[in-house]
């Protein structure tokens, strides 16, 4: 069965809104669990890493171009380049390398 894209969008909007709204409207107490805070600290790093690798190797159709994008964006961001610039240069490099 093919699910409906709009139902997906409404479901994700509803749960995301609840996550943001509940602490502001319903329970207004500070969070004290150190484990929970630490867990939430790591979540972005883990989820973005899992989503990025190995997907980046597949999205261009050529693993080598994926490795190029991976290494280049790592180096550029670590030397302090901004987000859009890192992405822009990585895309340009992939485009040019693909022409070769």
């Amino acid at each position: 069965m093919r699910h409906d894209t709009y139902i997906y969008i409404i479901i994700m909007a509803a749960v995301t809104y609840l996550v943001r709204m509940l602490p502001l409207v319903v329970f207004r107490k500070p969070m004290t669990s150190r484990f929970f805070k630490s867990f939430l600290y790591y979540v972005p790093y883990v989820s973005l890493s899992v989503m990025t690798f190995p997907e980046i190797l597949r999205c261009t159709g050529s693993p080598l171009l994926g490795v190029l994008a991976l290494v280049l964006s790592m180096v550029l961001s670590l030397v302090g380049m901004s987000l859009p610039l890192t992405a822009g240069i990585s895309c340009t490099a992939v485009f040019l390398a693909n022409l070769l």
Binding site: R20, M21, L24, C59, L72, L83
Partner: protein
């Protein structure tokens, strides 16, 4: 101007205060609008490559305003994953907003009405949280409402532009543009490694596990979305257990 009971302001003063807070939020969020435009453009490209129309991609951005959450959902929807898995993935990936909203609730004017609280809940993102938590307390909800008025169009229009261009540009261009989303994710997670070395281990462990899930017989039948859910919960919990944050550190310091 006259004060009524205690520090109650007149409704006219109140309105003026709300108006000024709104305008300040609007102005402070201008750079966020530009940043959002760039990031959501890559989401739009990604959405178009996964079969979304510009309207669907734009609607998703209008109703969510979350880069990691939307990126996961786009892929899961393309995979025809279950509604339940999509809901769980959004809770797991976006759960940190709970902590941000809690911090905002504590900083907010005590007399903030429920309507204003519901309105500012529309967007609690890393960036809007970042500027609003820096305001001198107590926080006026209208500051956040002003900030989202500026930031949201950047997010929505960037997505739509990305989705439209993703559908009309030649294949070799969209192919190159499709790495932009991942390059941005890398640019989000790598620089903080310089301040907190354990993050290098977290990132390496996450990428290695993700790859193992993709090549191991049995595990590779698991959907992308479920893999993201399972690994995010397991690895974040593992590191929270073996290396909890120092007591003075907050999630707000993180990505």
């Amino acid at each position: 101007m006259a004060f009524f009971a205690g520090n109650q302001y007149s409704s006219q003063q109140m309105k003026e205060c709300n108006r000024l807070s709104y305008l300040k939020g609007l102005k402070d969020a201008m750079p966020i609008m530009l940043g959002y435009f760039a990031v959501s453009f890559t989401l739009g490209i990604n959405a178009s490559q996964n079969g979304f129309s510009w309207f669907q991609a734009g609607l998703m951005s209008f109703l969510n305003h979350t880069s990691a959450g939307q990126a996961a959902a786009i892929r899961m929807i393309a995979d025809n994953d279950s509604y339940l898995n999509v809901a769980i993935s959004q809770i797991v990936i976006n759960l940190r907003y709970l902590l941000m909203s809690t911090a905002l609730a504590l900083k907010l004017r005590q007399d903030t009405g429920i309507g204003e609280r519901l309105a500012m809940s529309y967007i609690v993102s890393d960036e809007i949280f970042g500027i609003s938590i820096m305001q001198r307390p107590p926080l006026n909800a209208w500051y956040n409402i002003g900030a989202m008025t500026a930031a949201s169009p950047g997010w929505v229009l960037g997505t739509i532009l990305g989705a439209v261009l993703g559908n009309v540009l030649p294949n070799d261009v969209t192919m190159a543009l499709s790495v932009a989303l991942y390059a941005m994710f890398i640019a989000v997670i790598f620089p903080p490694v310089r301040q907190d070395r354990i993050l290098a281990v977290v990132i390496a462990a996450s990428m290695a596990s993700s790859w193992l899930f993709d090549i191991t017989p049995g595990l590779k039948e698991i959907s992308f979305g479920f893999k993201v859910i399972v690994l995010t919960v397991a690895i974040s919990a593992l590191f929270a257990w073996i290396r909890p944050l120092p007591r003075e550190m907050e999630v707000s310091d993180a990505a």
